[in-house]
Point group: C2
Chain length 170, copies 2
């Protein structure tokens, strides 16, 4: 069962940071921090009648200009029906533009319009402000550790996507 490190745990003083207690704290920290992480954008989105799904779409379209629907589906990890509903409203509202691919005409390439970029900036501004403050308080060493742990926590495929995005913007 829960053969964690708490029961017999003395043997590795060096592994103190791997006790059940430490892991539990990590789990709860993720929960509470994620709440904070999403709260500021949520407030902005609410005034527009959008939700987190819209934010995610806007973020990754703004991040990888001209990305295809399929690529976005893979990044977000939702069904096309689910994404399409969100995408449709964003296009109708004039925040996103969908252009037929030139190389492959089956593909649609997605772009933020002027208005879409404005909203994107507003959203990332508040989210970045919170993260900037957290980074500033914690300091550069902590930030490096933060990212190392998060990266190690991702599913391998998501880690690849994350790294590819970070490096190439696609």
């Amino acid at each position: 069962m829960s053969e964690g490190s708490s029961g017999g745990g003395q043997r590795g003083e060096t592994l103190l940071y791997l006790t059940d207690e430490q892991l539990r704290k990590g789990i709860e920290a993720m929960f509470f921090a994620y709440k904070g992480f999403t709260s500021d954008p949520d407030r902005i989105l609410e005034t527009r009648g959008y939700g987190r799904a819209h934010h995610r779409a806007i973020h990754f379209i703004g991040r990888a200009h001209g990305t295809t629907v399929n690529n976005l589906l893979a990044i977000l990890g939702v069904t096309k029906q689910s994404l399409n509903r969100v995408l449709r409203t964003l296009i109708e509202d004039g925040l996103v533009e969908s252009r037929v691919g030139t190389r492959d005409k089956r593909e649609r390439h997605l772009f933020l319009t002027e208005e879409g970029e404005t909203l994107e900036r507003a959203l990332s501004e508040v989210q970045q402000a919170r993260m900037r403050e957290a980074f500033r308080i914690a300091g550069p060493g902590a930030v490096a550790g933060f990212r190392e742990v998060l990266e190690a926590m991702m599913d391998p495929e998501m880690r690849r996507r994350y790294q590819r995005l970070a490096e190439t913007g696609q």
Copy 2:
């Protein structure tokens, strides 16, 4: 890839770790990592017909035995109607027990039953396993940084709850 990011952190120098690019990476890391963080428990919950809301309730009841409904509401940050729906099914299914308070008979104190504890262990086992592996890969220094940043990212009230939970179990 954590490629060092912060280079120097000399004081007059750059604060390179606070660039928009670094912040964006942090934001995306949170997104992808949270996905991984919840994926293992989600798989278990699915087989039982439960969702994340059930997991959260089970986690915090298991964490703070005998907590009241009101306390749980504050921790989870949802409405009582929302929590009640989840709590009702957990009680009906015999995973949670609700006892009338002795000091204040208006209060209900919540406990996991034997079966509830079994599920709780199964859920936290897989979640802890992922976090243990991430912590092991990243190492103790990174873990400390990870928690510092997450803590700084919480809303103050949530930070207080988090710390209180971590210290007193209530």
